[in-house]
């Protein structure tokens, strides 16, 4: 187990370098950040040259990348266009997005698995058909539509909730955005659980469990659900990264100042350090979440062993 983890961690190093290099090259390919700074006005050459010099924009790209990585390992992610250090932005944005992610994740996992379990147990009945129809509906509607509709109906029309998220992103404001963000994944989780439960309900070990007279609750929670959750856990694990990175649309609709917002600002203001910095941290989160999922397999399925 320990050796497996170390091997995985070592594998992360080239992945990390590769992704950051790719992102770096892509973002710097967007165009000259100095040109955007002056708006519709032509930059005066001396000021522009001074800014380019300060930002190392005159060096070749590979050298800029080396300088950037050097700074990163010293903990300096550069500065956003308004002069704020990117580390500070990371510090304020990630907690906010993480709260949103937790909200979405809890909704997705709890509701999704519960719906899937009951639908799987009552296959072909009314509840099952209802869940299938509902999830189909949710999957087919894009996030920004559900977002705007819920925001308008609940926030403006009926005035039940705040249409936008207040400062510091309190959990009570995050319920609706969390629901919107979780929507599509929730549908997948429900369907995945349902199929898995339905399949396992005919498995030999389950018949054995029933035959030896275990109470129904134990059969379902210990034998059926635990085995059925393996594919679901894979999905949920990779979804953590997706939720954090993919909150861009939801964050914009509900005015949440998280990761998506900062990346968007970085792109609009043409500020490479912001974009690269945030995506770099997201890469780390993706890698970590994937490792965690792989390790969870072993916990859920005793047949899986890591050497």
């Amino acid at each position: 187990m320990g050796r497996y983890v170390i091997r995985r961690l070592l594998q992360m190093v080239p992945v990390f370098i590769g992704t950051t290099l790719l992102i770096f090259v892509m973002v710097y390919g967007l165009g000259d950040p100095v040109a955007a700074m002056f708006g519709d006005r032509t930059p005066d050459p001396a000021t522009a040259a001074q800014i380019r010099h300060d930002l190392h924009l005159n060096d070749p790209l590979w050298q800029q990348y080396l300088i950037y990585m050097q700074h990163i390992f010293k903990g300096d992610f550069g500065k956003a266009s308004n002069g704020q250090p990117v580390t500070e932005l990371l510090g304020t944005a990630f907690p906010v997005t993480l709260r949103l992610t937790i909200m979405a994740f809890v909704i997705e996992a709890v509701v999704g698995i519960a719906l899937g379990l009951f639908a799987g147990l009552r296959r072909g009945r009314f509840f099952d058909t209802g869940v299938l129809a509902m999830t189909l509906l949710v999957v087919s509607i894009p996030t920004f539509v559900t977002g705007f509709v819920l925001q308008y109906l609940l926030g403006v029309k009926w005035g039940v909730v705040h249409p936008s998220v207040g400062e510091g992103a309190p959990f009570k404001d995050l319920f609706i955005p969390g629901l919107v963000l979780a929507g599509v994944s929730l549908a997948y989780v429900a369907r995945l659980t349902r199929t898995s439960v339905a399949e396992n309900s005919r498995a030999d070990y389950l018949r054995t469990a029933v035959a030896k007279g275990l109470p129904r609750r134990r059969v379902i929670t210990n034998h059926m659900l635990r085995n059925s959750l393996i594919p679901v856990v894979t999905f949920l694990g990779t979804d953590i990264g997706n939720l954090m990175a993919g909150a861009l649309v939801t964050e914009r609709i509900f005015n949440i100042h998280g990761v998506g917002y900062q990346i968007y600002q970085g792109i609009v203001h043409n500020n490479p350090p912001t974009v690269v910095g945030f995506v770099t941290v997201l890469v780390i989160i993706f890698l970590g979440a994937n490792l965690l999922v792989d390790l969870l397999y072993a916990v859920l399925d005793p047949r899986i062993r890591y050497a």
């Binding site: 955007a36 936008s164 309190p170």
Partner: protein, 550 residues
């Protein structure tokens, strides 16, 4: 100043990642939502966008940072929100006998909110700092008229500054200083209302980082808290002695990622003032807000500019083609249907906010800017037809939703010429790339251009854009007669002489048509029933200090 990474952050990559992960549990505190209903004790809750640059007077060139500077600073002059006329603020008088040497006397009693007096040094030190090359201030070029600018801020790339102070500035006493310009410029005093010319307190020079975290100014408001990227709270400064103190208790600026959300929040009563109505809501805004919707001209003009350096557009006959293209555009239809009347068809190269006395002249362009399909076709044919038989109009595709109207303009041209391949839009991925191609003279066909005035003067609409070699002359237009008239206008003895000579110069643009005027952009805003006395100034920024809260 950016990237001068003196501060090294002793936080490793892993630590940041771990902190981010750990904050989920600890971040639960501070969950007291600030978006409570009600008016909150005379505070105006207004929408805001994250300022693009650090909040320094000479480093702010866009409207979001400009809003804050407007509230926390007062300069020598101020532009009357209604008439756009430059009026004395801190200046007691600005006099000159030769339009080149100016004597500026200051009123006494002005102070910064930290108690420092506003005196001649506050201006001289600020202007010197703003100009110095090593500070890389985006608005440094505004000081280029002052004598000695080329020593402090040499324009050639790689050149080193040979002085740190502008030789054209001389202190006479604490309340008086003299400015010597390097050329005659009659309207110079009227430019001094621009934020780049604001004074700076000593606190700025002693600790710039601390000042930037919470700017200190001399205006009717002081900043009580500033959470970058999220919100700024300004409260009325009780010590303000100026003639225009705040009529409300303060302003809370909230950053919105998306103006749609701000609009939704306005409808739900979570915010009082939204100063940018989203395009998608323009159809509903009148029924939603009624008289609480403002739609007024702002000092912004949109044009289609031509790369006159390209062989496609440099021939003598090509001016006729450009005039023809101008006449092929049905401005009225496009402003009505695409912009829902938030743009006004342009008939000159300035803006209605200048007023007649300021140099705006409706219809100056004449028939050359009036839609006439048959005349357009004829003129283009006389000019030898479109170069290569077709043209493209470039625009940036990332922000500003330009595609819609560019397509409409092309459509209008195609209809007039009876050829649906004559004109197509040419999107460029990002604004930075778009501007880069323009400034490096890589364009072969017309491109969209927008000009937001820095100060409400006809000079600011004409000279920077069309004078030979001027800073924003993206067309690289050069006409001896135009230049001569501009020089005359700058040297004129009185403001009204100056304005009328500028208008003569503007007439030359009709003949040469280096850029087709399209429309004047309006500023728009909506506000809640909590507020009254809301207005936009000529820069389409709400006049915050006059807003009354119920």
């Amino acid at each position: 100043m950016r990237g001068a990474t003196r501060v090294k952050w002793a936080v490793g990559v892993t630590v940041v990642a771990l902190t981010a992960a750990a904050c989920g549990s600890s971040g639960d505190s501070g969950g007291s939502g600030s978006s409570t209903g009600g008016s909150g004790g005379g505070i105006v809750r207004a929408s805001w966008g994250d300022p693009q640059n650090p909040l320094e007077p000479a480093n702010t060139n866009e409207v979001q940072g400009g809003k804050v500077l407007d509230m926390v600073f007062r300069g020598l002059k101020i532009y009357n929100p209604k008439t756009a006329k430059a009026e004395n603020m801190i200046a007691q008088s600005i006099t000159s006998t030769d339009s080149q040497n100016f004597d500026i006397k200051l009123k006494t009693g002005w102070t910064f909110s930290n108690g420092e007096p506003v005196n001649a040094d506050s201006f001289i030190n600020a202007w010197n700092f703003d100009t110095q090359l090593k500070n890389a201030q985006l608005n440094a070029s505004f000081f280029s008229y002052i004598d000695g600018y080329d020593k402090v801020h040499p324009d050639a790339q790689g050149a080193k500054a040979s002085a740190t102070t502008l030789s054209g500035l001389t202190k006479v006493s604490d309340t008086e200083f003299k400015v010597r310009l390097n050329q005659k410029f009659a309207l110079f005093p009227d430019t001094l209302g621009y934020a780049a010319f604001d004074p700076l307190p000593q606190a700025f020079f002693t600790n710039r980082q601390a000042w930037l975290a919470k700017p200190i100014g001399n205006g009717p408001y002081e900043i009580s808290s500033y959470t970058k990227g999220s919100k700024m709270e300004l409260k009325k400064w009780d010590g303000y002695k100026g003639p225009d103190p705040a009529q409300n208790g303060g302003v809370e600026l909230r950053v919105y990622t998306d103006n749609n959300t701000a609009y939704t929040d306005l409808q739900a009563g979570n915010i009082d003032l939204v100063d940018d109505i989203p395009v998608t809501q323009l159809r509903n805004v009148k029924s939603d807000l009624g008289s609480r919707y403002i739609n007024e001209p702002a000092g912004i003009i949109q044009t289609i500019s031509f790369p006159l350096y390209s062989p496609r557009w440099s021939s003598a006959n090509s001016a006729k083609v450009r005039q023809g293209l101008s006449m092929a555009i049905n401005r009225q239809q496009i402003t009505d249907q695409i912009f829902q009347q938030t743009r006004t068809p342009a008939t000159d190269w300035t803006s209605p906010v200048l007023g007649d006395a300021g140099g705006y002249k409706a219809g100056l362009c004449g028939q050359e800017c009036t839609f006439n399909a048959s005349k357009a076709k004829q003129l283009i044919a006389e000019g030898g037809g479109l170069p290569g038989g077709r043209i493209t109009i470039s625009y940036n595709a990332d922000t500003g939703s330009h595609k819609e109207w560019i397509d409409a303009v092309c459509n209008s041209i195609n209809n007039a010429l009876g050829n649906n391949k004559a004109c197509v839009g040419a999107p460029v991925g990002t604004f930075a790339d778009f501007r880069n191609r323009i400034t490096s003279k890589q364009m072969n066909d017309p491109f969209r251009a927008g000009w937001q005035m820095d100060y409400p003067l006809i000079q600011d609409f004409l000279q920077p854009q069309y004078y030979t070699g001027a800073s924003s002359n993206d067309s690289h237009y050069s006409n001896a007669n135009f230049d001569k008239l501009v020089n005359q206008a700058n040297a004129a003895g009185s403001a009204s002489d100056s304005v009328s000579t500028f208008q003569k110069a503007e007439k030359q643009l009709v003949t040469d048509m280096p850029a087709i005027p399209l429309w004047y952009q309006n500023g728009s805003a909506g506000y809640s029933t909590n507020l009254s006395n809301v207005a936009l100034n000529p820069f389409s920024v709400p006049v915050y200090n006059e807003i009354k809260v119920k």
